[in-house]
């Protein structure tokens, strides 16, 4: 690829600083919990780089010995923030690290035990918009509990536009899973039987168990139909007890 043909102008070859590393990221906020899940495949073009990469990080205040003893399977407190990125993995890793750094300085400077979801979301916006003209090529979703203890999810576009939502899918499988979630979580296009499309099915919080089932079915389905999704599924769950992580195998073809 070249621009400029004449002798006086140097020929410029282009370096592309981005790549698409595939994968899918999914979050659902429940009444008193939130979950953030992603597949563990990292790919480029038609090759699989690794079958076990981690696109989500639980950013948590340090765990006390007492907490660890009481909750041996918990990897974070209820004040944690689940931070997930999907897209160009190098930018995803860099963004995660930047945010973690900000989080640490924030709790240190403000003498707080944690950062609220609202503040975290605004900080992520600044990080993303700060590179408006050389963007982090990632779709970001963060999950946690809000100040009332309700499940909370914020999703971001690559340059920092964000919104609090009930559920969101990012990455390769977004267009495949999002309509499914619209229908199954927010009951879109569902009417109460017998009312002839006059009364919509009322939106109600789903139980954690129900959400986990939807997440697993969403990922096994998108693994069937999208080539960059597969290998493994990591589900992070945050509720009043803390953060835990589940792993399930996905198909490896």
């Amino acid at each position: 690829m070249m621009t400029g043909q004449h002798g006086s102008q140097p020929i410029q070859h282009q370096f592309n600083p981005y790549s698409d590393n595939g994968g899918t990221l999914l979050g659902i906020a429940g009444e008193d919990f939130a979950i953030l899940a992603s597949d563990t495949r990292q790919s480029v073009d038609y090759s699989i780089n690794t079958r076990l990469s981690h696109k989500i990080k639980a950013i948590s205040p340090s765990l006390t010995a007492e907490f660890k003893a009481q909750n041996p399977k918990m990897i974070g407190t209820k004040n944690s923030i689940l931070f997930g990125t999907n897209g160009f993995s190098a930018d995803g890793d860099a963004l995660t690290r930047q945010f973690e750094e900000n989080w640490k300085w924030y709790v240190h400077d403000q003498n707080k035990s944690a950062m609220s979801m609202q503040s975290a979301a605004r900080n992520v916006q600044h990080l993303l918009y700060g590179k408006r003209f050389f963007p982090y090529y990632v779709h970001t979703i963060i999950c946690g509990l809000d100040e009332e203890g309700k499940g909370c999810l914020y999703s971001f576009d690559p340059v920092g536009s964000y919104e609090r939502e009930q559920c969101r899918v990012g990455g390769a499988g977004a267009s495949l899973i999002m309509p499914f979630l619209d229908n199954q979580v927010n009951f879109k296009n569902q009417y109460i039987p017998g009312t002839n499309s006059t009364e919509r099915r009322k939106v109600d919080y789903l139980s954690l168990d129900e959400c986990l089932k939807l997440v697993k079915d969403a990922f096994t389905s998108v693994t069937e139909r999208h080539i960059t999704v597969g290998d493994g599924l990591e589900i992070f769950i945050i509720d009043k007890n803390g953060v835990r992580c589940e792993y399930h195998d996905l198909k490896k073809d």
Binding site: M1, Q14, N16, P17, S47, A90, A94, F134
Partner: protein, 277 residues
Amino acid sequence: MNHDPYSWGRPSDSMYGEYNREIANAPTSMEQHTSSSNFNEHTTRPIVTGTSVVAIKYKTGVVIAADNLASYGSLLRFQGVERLHKVGKTTVVGISGDISDMQYLVKVLDQLSMDNNYDNDEYSDNVDELQPSYIFEYLSNLMYHRRSKMNPLWNALVVSGVDSKTGEPFLQYVNLLGVKYASPSIATGFGAHLAVPLLRRLADSEEQAAELTLEEAKKGIRDSMRVLFYRDTRSSKNYSLAIIDKDAGITYDNNVDVEDMSWKFAKDIKGYGTQKV
């Protein structure tokens, strides 16, 4: 990643459409001060290149190999260029891609281990040896930093070793874009297409790698290097092989040859279709 270093870091038009170069051409704040020209004189393609690096973890360490050839385009230009580099006591870094950028990286790594030695000699109170994870952290930050300045080091690196405190095998990859990952088996360039399928048959998960013996791992690497010599036109028969073991330390051989090749049946193949003689 595409096996051809010349296409590394270039957009695949078929999938994304043509890349918008306006974004990339915008000068960074630093360059606005230092450079009067509109064009940046950065590495935009590799010149002398090294091909695949292949590596696999086993029970108590890692086996890594890379051939000793530096190519100038399709010319097999320099034989005897070692692309496996010892850093500290328990790390070997394998480098593919541009050779001049590799030599710069080696200089950086030498300085790194020298600095570390000054701070951690026998008179120090707390000796903190260079661990593979430290070196990887340094290199991955360097690679991402350089790509973010639009001035990449045109390489794909494999950092292998064992943690000298825990004895845990270490194997991770980073390339010119700063994309990094860990896996039980890793290969760069052509090796990602030809060697990885073979190595994943030996160990597709960390659990399987933890059961693999040194002999099995070595055989996997030898088989991979043979297949690469058969099929990668920029490869050579002569290669270097390093074993980093938690007990035996680093065993390094810079003069291994591909063995057990079979070209016999070639004589029976006539022409490209219907020819009989």
